[in-house]
């Protein structure tokens, strides 16, 4: 269906106050600071209005992106904060039919359910459900997939694009 990774992905977890969490954050920042030259990745972090910290990676190679994400989530889990992990988000673009508007498309990985579901926002709190169904049809056999559509919770205002 012509889905292409854009080279942008993110991981988000809920922040809490406390020394242990602070130490974990330092671990993560240390890892992020030493990404180059081993991984061809750039990164930034942001905290949203819900109090979730986002780590956003950009890179050309999927292997690097995945390695970056899993290393961060491993650190979070090793430090005993796995319950704080919410989601990983992968951005896609697709070559759609001519004359139709193209939207950013996402696969959300839910850490609580250990599976993926599609997310295609079209504006303020609106989604392209048809496109989400198409994504499901295309990939639901290949990856662990959330088949219960009532759990396809959106993540509005994803900070993957807004720089700064």
């Amino acid at each position: 269906m012509g889905l292409k990774v854009t080279g942008r992905c993110a991981l988000t977890f809920k922040t809490v106050s406390g020394t242990f969490f602070y130490e974990m954050e330092q671990d993560i920042r240390q890892f992020l600071g030493n990404l180059q030259p081993e991984f061809d990745l750039t990164w930034r972090t942001t905290t949203d209005s819900y109090g979730y910290m986002w780590i956003i990676f950009e890179g050309k190679r999927i292997e690097d992106l995945l390695a970056g994400l899993t290393t961060v989530s491993d650190i979070v889990e090793e430090r005993g904060f796995s319950d704080q992990l919410l989601a990983a988000v992968f951005e896609f673009s697709s070559e759609r039919e001519q004359g139709r508007r193209t939207h950013q498309q996402y696969l959300i990985y839910n850490y609580k359910r250990n599976n993926f579901y599609p997310f295609v926002p079209t504006g303020q709190k609106t989604i392209d459900a048809e496109q989400q169904m198409k994504i499901m049809a295309a990939i639901s056999e290949e990856i662990p997939f959330e088949r219960d559509m009532t759990l396809w919770y959106p993540l509005w205002d994803l900070p993957l694009r807004s720089l700064g």
Binding site: M1, Y50, L86, K112, R113, A137, W152, Y153, P154
Partner: protein, 302 residues
């Protein structure tokens, strides 16, 4: 797959329930009528002939029964020019014969096809269907119904039900045979046992044919999806129509994951559903399976 009963199955019931009830009443009338004939002493062969005539009559008048029981009205070009245009475009492109067009004044989005031969067939749509779907999606649904007509699915399903009806009648006559034929010189309870056995066989036959008819019906739906999608060349339009009709799209939540995260929504173990059981009894395959197959077609076509 989904824990709850699909909304489209519930929605479907309005229209199909009326059809089923109508035909069930007819069947009961037959049985009463034939039982009376048997009671007054008409021979088994004569009863078989009469039953055959009744089944043929039902077959012959099936269109009228369907129209009458669903409240569908045949509409002229003047009343629904756009609908007629749409159907004519599809049939002209695909060298099919144009069916009569009927409209049901219901807000539930639905459509059906009926008719004994492609030439005498009827495609009916509800007002709700025309209201909710865009032209391309409506085209997809009508192409699906035209595929049912082209594939003579009404005939196939009628024949399938005919066999089950015939099996049922045969069992009944067998029962009379057991009651009256085996009585001479034997003890009464032997006849009773034979009767019970025949009843049991009758019930098993009926249940088996009921399930088989439903399996055939589900299979014919897949075939009509496929052929309908080939007619329009746009499988994804039929898929999105199915999703709209079924209300599936409305079930995708709009609340943010971060808002619901603390609400234990994800720890609820999905209830083990009676899904396999309901899917055995349903005449249509689950909508997500149909959408999946259609989207696979779309991917293969583009």
């Amino acid at each position: 797959m989904f824990t709850k009963k699909q909304p489209w199955q519930r929605r479907d019931t309005g229209l199909t329930a009326r059809m089923i009830v109508s035909f069930a009443i007819l069947a009961i009338l037959y049985i009463i009528f034939l039982s009376v004939l048997a009671y007054v002493g008409v021979s088994a062969i004569a009863i078989a002939v009469i039953a055959g005539i009744l089944i043929l009559a039902q077959w012959y008048f099936s269109d009228k029964i369907v129209l009458w029981s669903t409240g569908a009205k045949i509409v002229s070009r003047e009343q629904f020019p756009e609908l007629h245009d749409l159907v004519e475009r599809i049939v002209a492109r695909n060298n099919l014969s144009k069916p009569r067009i009927a409209v049901v004044n219901s807000r539930m989005p639905n459509a059906f096809a009926t008719g004994k031969t492609p030439k005498s067939s009827i495609v009916a749509v509800t007002v709700g269907l025309m209201d909710q779907l865009d032209p391309e999606e409506l085209e997809g649904v009508i192409a699906h119904e035209l595929a049912h007509i082209k594939n003579r699915d009404v005939l196939i399903l009628t024949l399938a039900s005919l066999f089950s009806t015939m099996a049922w009648y045969l069992m009944r006559f067998g029962m009379y045979g057991g009651m009256y034929g085996g009585g001479h010189g034997r003890r009464g309870n032997e006849g009773g046992a034979a009767m019970l056995l025949i009843l049991l066989v009758a019930i098993i036959t009926w249940i088996a044919s009921f399930l088989i008819i439903r399996a055939i019906s589900r299979y014919r739906e897949y075939v009509a999806d496929r052929d309908g999608a080939l007619i329009t060349g746009k499988p994804s339009k039929l898929a999105s129509a199915l999703l709209k009709i079924s209300g599936t799209m409305k079930r995708i939540p709009t609340r943010d994951l971060r808002e619901v995260e603390g609400m234990n929504a994800f720890f609820i173990i999905p209830a083990l559903s009676g899904d396999t059981l309901t899917s055995l009894f349903s005449t249509h395959p689950p909508v997500d399976q149909r959408v999946k197959k259609l989207m696979e077609m779309e991917a293969a076509m583009s």
